[in-house]
Symmetry: C2
Subunit: 335 residues, 2 copies
DNA sequence: CGACCCCGATCCACCGCCTCG
DNA sequence: TCGAGGCGGTGGATCGGGGTC
């Protein structure tokens, strides 16, 4: 800054003002001169100094349970894009769904002086959101919701219903659910919407067909195994997450059943690979890029002290061969 | 700090030194008293102030092309674990394989005063690594290599050879390659190792069977389409990345061919979902968690001014049904 | 012609921590 | 163990010069 000021022939504070987004009380000529000098010198403001002085680090924290979850990493891409555009940088922390780890990671973020947090790993049984609230740290939930906290998510109850109606229309009368984690809104709401639609059709789904083994490939495999062990075998399975669905595919395969032929399968999120599987996977699409961008936008609003509303993004069913190709025993095909 | 010092009944500078990792010239009793006071007050040192004063932000940057690449997100998990253990935080930046974007993101990282960079998106045609070198910013390459720069990666030439030998042993005499991005070491080396092994067996692979369409599901689909357009159809395909392999599966399916039955397919990285596909995918395993941890370790060494060696991790072939189940036209099955 | 005002630039104290003397 | 200075920006307070009535 000293150097820039010297080169431009002005006082450092004048240089500082000239470099601000919208310089005030500085002549256009001076601004131009200073900016040219800054460019020539390759000047880069020291973020630590600015943060110390202003009290704002322009750093935000993003808490996820695992970044290897495809749905989360695509959501994060949206956060990153919006954050970068607003001059913020994002620090991601893996919470691993362990309460102790999550609080530790939040501690580390707070010590960094982050301006706000995007909580993408909210759980019904934990207190990270409450703690942020109590500490007065701006935060917004993404992907998962929690009553009383602002969030951006897909309308998961509706998404579950969409999956169910699709299967019902195809003539299915029994279905199982790989329900993810029962302590997350995503697992709970998608499952609830699905079961509700079946119940509304007079075909309630017994609890033993609902396997809450968690999210991810391995968890999906376990869910598939549990479901296969129940008799009689359902003609359809709803997995509340696409990678979980892939695990289900593996377990069904091991049990000698073929998805898309003798079992229908619906996933959730519509990640890119769903369409490329040997039997393309029917999935409920969520707009995760939008979710991430919106979450960042809301966080900026909260940081600015504006009140923020929760937002529900609409889900969209994308039918593919994993349901369209499956036969429905004991039912006539739809018109 | 003032508060902590007051509560402990000492001078702020004494408190500061008591809170240091290994306090010097302070009595044990004082250290204990100060630390107790800090704990009671929930004292959190201001990272910006410390960074400004010491010149070290304890922040590192990680450059990836996309975090939605499963291989990279698992690698990042290793980086994150090692960084956290060492008291560092990682800022991830998506470079999107666009040179301009990458340099911009590096600019942003530098402005943050990051202590070092893990470059996981190195390309043969670009200059980010050179620039970091020139600027004197400590950095280490991960996943991809570049001649003359320290890196941690899988021995990709060997990995390609493993894939080829496996197919050769099964009796395949023709193969195509979904070769990823030709300007990355991962695409280039894996492909080179594979072709070399086929050439060594007297079965060189013509260029038209090598599709360098990039990484990822969509790129894999394009590669599969290109390969299908060539005649005669090869009995095996090697995709240099598992998600790319999934795209290949989709394209082959669209062309009426079935992986594991009439085409053998080998992927790379052995991501978790490979084993769960309807036809489990043979893949060359890379230890990406280890890769990330090691990269962080090497970066810390470089930050400390120690010279660092490049490291090659050994690949491991994991045979599954996508190759074991495929018939080999015109060849007798292996003994 | 003098008093006043306003705009552009400058001065300086300070953010919180670290470390030398 | 204490005291003080300074890391590098920031922004309120202040100053000065030129135009205006």
């Amino acid at each position: 800054m000293q150097d820039v000021a010297r080169l431009a022939g002005v006082h450092p504070s004048t240089a500082s003002r000239s470099l601000a987004e919208s310089p005030v009380r500085i002549s256009a000529a001076t601004v131009a001169r200073v900016r040219a000098a800054a460019r020539d010198l390759g000047y880069r403001p020291n973020a630590s100094a600015a943060a110390l002085r202003t009290g704002s680090s322009r750093l935000i924290g993003v808490l996820v349970h695992r970044l290897t979850d495809l749905a989360l990493s695509t959501m994060y891409a949206g956060v990153d894009a919006a954050a970068t555009a607003a001059g913020y940088s994002a620090v991601v922390a893996n919470g691993l769904d362990d309460p102790a780890v999550r609080h530790e990671r939040v501690d580390a973020l707070l010590a960094r002086g982050i301006d706000g947090v995007i909580l993408a790993d909210a759980r019904l049984d934990d207190t990270v959101a409450e703690r942020l609230e109590r500490l007065g740290v701006p935060y917004v939930l993404a992907m998962r919701t929690l009553p009383g906290h602002a969030s951006v998510s897909t309308n998961d109850v509706e998404g579950g219903r969409l999956a169910a109606r699709h299967l019902l229309e195809l003539g299915h009368r029994t279905a199982a659910v790989a329900a993810g984690d029962a302590l997350t809104s995503t697992g709970r709401d998608r499952t609830a919407g699905f079961r509700q639609a079946f119940a509304d059709a007079g075909l309630p789904i017994p609890d033993r067909y609902v396997a809450s083994t968690g999210f991810g490939v391995a968890a999906g495999h376990r869910a598939g195994e549990l479901i296969c062990r129940q008799g009689p075998a359902p003609s359809a399975v709803f997995a509340v997450d696409d990678l979980t669905a892939v695990g289900v595919i593996g377990a069904l395969r091991d049990a000698g059943r073929t998805v898309g032929t003798d079992v229908a399968l619906v996933g959730y999120n519509d990640v890119e690979l769903a369409a490329e599987l040997p039997v393309p996977l029917t999935s409920v699409r969520s707009d995760r890029d939008q979710m991430g961008r919106l979450a960042m936008q809301l966080l900026l609003d909260r940081i600015a002290g504006r009140p923020v509303p929760s937002t529900l993004l609409p889900p969209l069913l994308v039918p593919r061969a994993s349901t369209l190709g499956a036969s429905v025993p004991g039912a006539s095909p739809p018109a």
